[in-house]
């Protein structure tokens, strides 16, 4: 086939990039080679628009064993234990086929984690849908949730936390981000860098089919008359095979057979082989006729670009082939030696002995394009609405409206579809500020949470970026965990638009500031650009996934009131920031103004102090104050508990709406027994923490003096009906 400009463009490459390809090759590429360049040079694999900005993130720390650059990040949690984790997006496939898209998203991120030697111990997800009224939302919600559950449940890894949001910005482009967390021994971590010449390159797992061949789809018109037949097919997940693959890999990892290992994710065989060889400064030779295929007559082009799931590439130590093969045979999986490492620094593809393609590896990896895209700053916009002109609404009615809305309803309908308990180490399930997973057979536990705030990030990306890291850190603190490190999934619109690129650049500056100040490094992540359609980009939606450590798990801390007559303390200052608040959005349909500012000094001080108080076992329950402000946080502490609260009216703030619904940051609520109060107050004062005693817990009622009194069972019901009625 002749490579015309049209064919080049259909591979997502521009003409300048094409001429660079010719320069690197010193000739014209054939179609197979072009496909490989297109896969490696696309945004997803090359990070060509984002790399310059990602570079600035803080990625090092005392507890970081492996930062970005590997399949997942690795942190040290003491003794000989390491935690390996990463988040990844599967947005576009999930919009086309929600069940399979979400399922394969989970499968993909799990492979990233167990490929490094970790047994996965928890799954999380962040899912964003369009407005509930949009005609596609309901079936997308159903499909995505059952897809996430379907995969995680079957493979037997608990899905323990996540977030679910609805916003019309995602009407044509939902977000499905999945995070996996695994546990490994520190001295048994596996990397993708190849070492040594003439080592066997082994293909294991499922057979290769024509799943998700992007380039092929785009160029299919030119293929032949039967192009309809060759339409790319949706990737279908097979969690059963993944379970076998996981067990087989973990079994093989017990001894010293593996030099390096890499899952076949995006761009399948291409990216895995290129990555392993180029990291090791080697070459690699693959005999495509040996690749196990599911369909007849698959071409080298299709094999190299297929995104069939549940496959891995392994480079084995000499003489370990037989031993390894037996393990894979036991698990009924394909195991084929398809090539070897070389010293040529080239990717060499042979088919029936004939060379079908040969590309210098640096052209695919280190010399892949990097762009310094134009970007513009976002100004802080003063809010335009006049607070005095808002329609009068009773506080009770506003609270009920928020608690019964799609975004703030209880998510049991979703989380009941996930097995949260399998592996028997889930000490804190979904519904809490963070999930808590005990390290098997040990006293310690990790806390995990994911967070995003698209509205804040849209209004002011820098502040928004700062805020999500802090919110995530607060969520870990609230269950008594010391935050250690994060992974991030950066979901943005079209980076060729300077405004969007600006959102990206500024969010990253915000993330960086918080991470640096809180000593909360980024160890892995993923960028997803081009979310949106026809110039309608989604709101910037970076998602932060955090991991924290609980040194000794004695009793899991959660946010439900435990007793009556406890004092309830509000930690942190309340200013009454209503711009961009849930109150204005859900009750008055106003989305306007600036997000709340963050004072990082207070953030750190408040958080560290709360953690100290929890560790001294001086509190019954803890909750951070986030979306919806103080009143929603207090309602959450009451719903599902047997106890409510009686709140005194504030002395200084005269405007009750600002007091109760304001979204000022860095705040926590603590429930403290009378006999611990003195000690807690002493710690707070010693650490210069601003706090307020706002009321007492009581039986059955959620009450604000002279303002409202609601049965907490009724609140619970209100909070639980949205999904069931949808």
């Amino acid at each position: 086939m002749k490579i015309t400009n049209q064919v080049v463009e259909k591979h997502g490459l521009n003409l300048e990039e094409y001429s660079n390809i010719k320069k690197f090759l010193k000739r014209e590429p054939n179609l197979l080679e072009l496909g490989i360049f297109s896969a490696m040079w696309n945004e997803h694999c090359s990070y060509k628009s984002s790399r310059r900005h990602l570079k600035n993130l803080p990625t090092k720390g005392k507890q970081v064993i492996q930062g970005p650059g590997e399949n997942a990040g690795v942190i040290d949690i003491g003794d000989d234990d390491a935690i390996i984790f990463k988040i990844e997006s599967h947005n576009h496939p999930s919009y086309i086929e929600p069940y399979q898209g979400a399922a394969t998203g989970v499968g993909g991120i799990l492979r990233d984690v167990f490929t490094m030697g970790a047994r996965p111990i928890a799954l999380l997800n962040s899912i964003h849908f369009g407005s509930p009224e949009h005609f596609k939302t309901k079936s997308l919600l159903n499909g995505v949730v059952s897809g996430i559950g379907g995969y995680g449940n079957c493979i037997g890894i608990p899905t323990v936390a996540g977030e679910t949001k609805f916003n019309k910005t995602y009407n044509e482009n939902i977000l499905v981000n999945a995070m996996a967390v695994g546990h490994a021994k520190k001295d048994k971590i596996f990397y993708s860098k190849a070492k040594g010449v003439n080592k066997s390159v082994v293909y294991v797992g499922s057979k290769t089919g024509r799943d998700g061949i992007h380039g092929a789809s785009m160029a299919s018109a030119e293929f032949d008359e039967n192009s309809e037949e060759k339409k790319p097919t949706v990737q279908v997940g097979d969690p059963f095979t993944e379970k076998l693959l996981m067990e087989a890999c973990l079994e093989l990892m017990k001894d010293n057979s593996i030099i390096s290992i890499q899952d076949m994710g995006a761009a399948g065989l291409t990216s895995s082989s290129v990555e392993m060889a180029s990291k090791g400064d080697l070459g690699i030779e693959i005999h495509l006729d040996k690749v196990p295929c599911r369909e007849e007559n698959m071409t080298p082009y299709e094999m190299m670009l297929s995104e069939s799931q549940e496959r891995m590439l392994i480079i084995l130590e000499d003489g370990k082939e037989k031993h390894a093969k037996e393990i894979f045979k036991k698990w009924d999986l394909d195991f084929v030696i398809i090539g070897k490492t070389t010293d040529t620094n080239k990717l060499t593809l042979k088919y029936n002995g004939k060379i079908e393609g040969e590309i210098p590896l640096d052209a695919l990896a280190s010399k892949a394009p990097v762009y310094d895209r134009k970007w513009v700053k976002k100004k802080l916009i003063k809010s335009k609405f006049d607070f005095k002109k808002l329609k009068k609404i009773k506080i009770e009615d506003a609270l009920i409206k928020i608690l019964s809305s799609a975004n703030h309803s209880n998510k049991n309908w979703i989380t009941n579809q996930y097995d949260q308990m399998v592996m028997c180490d889930t000490a804190q399930k979904s519904g809490a500020d963070s999930a808590v997973i005990r390290i098997h057979d040990k006293e310690k536990a990790i806390a995990v949470a994911v967070d995003s705030s698209a509205n804040y990030c849209k209004a002011h990306p820098l502040t928004g970026g700062k805020q999500i890291v802090c919110e995530n850190w607060r969520n870990l603190i609230s269950v008594g965990a010391k935050p250690i490190a994060i992974t991030n999934c950066l979901n943005f619109g079209n980076p060729e638009d300077p405004k969007i690129m600006g959102e990206f650049a500024e969010c990253l500056i915000g993330i960086k500031e918080s991470c640096e100040f809180l000593n909360y490094p980024v160890v892995s992540g993923n960028v997803s650009f081009y979310n949106g359609t026809n110039k309608k980009n989604i709101s910037p939606t970076p998602v932060i996934g955090g991991v924290g450590l609980i040194q000794k798990l004695e009793k899991p801390m959660d946010h439900l009131f435990k007793k009556k007559n406890s004092d309830v303390l509000l930690i942190g200052k309340t200013f009454g920031h209503l711009e961009q608040s849930v109150f204005l959005e859900e009750v008055h349909y106003i989305l306007d103004g600036r997000p709340p500012e963050i004072n990082l000094v207070n953030e750190r001080n408040n958080g560290e102090t709360v953690l100290e108080i929890i560790k001294k076992d001086l509190v019954n329950s803890v909750h951070d104050v986030s979306n919806g402000g103080l009143i929603v946080a207090l309602a959450e502490m009451s719903m599902g508990s047997d106890f409510g609260i009686k709140i005194k009216k504030p002395k200084n703030l005269t405007n009750l709406y600002k007091y109760f619904f304001g979204e000022d940051q860095s705040r926590y609520i603590l429930e403290v027994d009378k006999n611990n109060l003195e000690r807690v107050e002493k710690i707070l004062k010693n650490n210069n923490i601003f706090y307020d005693n706002i009321g007492l817990t009581q039986n059955d009622y959620f009450e604000i003096e002279d303002e409202l009194k609601i049965d907490i069972k009724k609140l619970y019901k209100i909070n639980n009906q949205w999904y069931n009625n949808y």
Binding site: C154, F240, K243, D332, Q417, Q420, V422
Partner: protein, 225 residues
């Protein structure tokens, strides 16, 4: 006591049950499904999970495995057999227990803590519980909707072969306290010799107050007696 846990491709509660058994001082062995012989065991557990991905029908393919013939032989000789969740489904597929587990009534996977009531506490599996005692215990399944023909249902009732029923926290057994649509809220049954128990709830998940509660422990203690 010696126990064996059968491991199929796709079993995923095998480690959990092994941990529970060992905690209760059973001498436990894991048995891979391709093996043709069982180690000497007083108790054989068929664990939960998704054997063979739940493909075709949950439990169907595991029900045809090599090792299952040995389990059937052991059962005939009176060995104690416990099938939990997918294990229950497998036991019905082999015919060791009668009836079938259909899709949950709401067609969704359900994971939550539910209450179950001890109906028969006079068996090797349940003697440490009180009759009508209410447990809080975790369920996690797609197909837990127990169904059997009216003849067999009569036998289950007349011969006291129902082990547990779903109820609410006050012990009421009704449609509201039925999570998955099971006939008469049945959560677990015995065979007629009462040496085989199949149950959808997961007792192995209720062994540790730090994680959940210890309502499952008495099942294992009963067996040890």
């Amino acid at each position: 006591m010696n126990s064996s846990v059968i491991v199929f491709p796709g079993s995923n509660c095998d480690r959990d049950i092994a941990v529970a058994l060992e905690k209760m001082q059973f001498k436990n062995q894991m048995v891979w499904h391709k093996e043709s012989k069982l180690p000497k065991s007083d108790l054989i557990v068929v664990p939960g999970g998704f054997s063979y991905g739940d493909y075709l029908r949950s439990g169907a393919i595991a029900g045809k495995s090599l090792i299952i013939n040995e389990v059937i032989k052991a059962a005939d000789k009176g060995c104690l057999i416990l099938g939990i969740c997918n294990g229950f489904q497998i036991l019905t597929e082999t015919g060791l227990l009668k009836g079938v587990l259909l899709r949950n009534k709401n067609l969704r996977f359900i994971n939550k803590d539910v209450n179950i009531k001890i109906i028969n506490n006079e068996t090797k599996f349940s003697n440490k519980y009180k009759k009508n005692q209410i447990l809080k215990i975790n369920i996690a399944h797609n197909e837990g909707n127990y169904f059997t023909n009216s003849n067999h249902l009569k036998i289950l009732n007349n011969e006291n072969l129902i082990a547990f029923k779903y109820c609410d926290k006050n012990g009421n057994i009704n449609e509201d306290s039925n999570p998955n649509g099971s006939l008469e809220n049945i959560a677990g049954i015995f065979n007629s010799k009462k040496n085989i128990l199949g149950m959808m709830p997961h007792p192995e998940r209720m062994m540790d107050n730090l994680i959940s509660n210890t309502d499952g422990a008495n099942l294992f203690l009963s067996l040890l007696k």
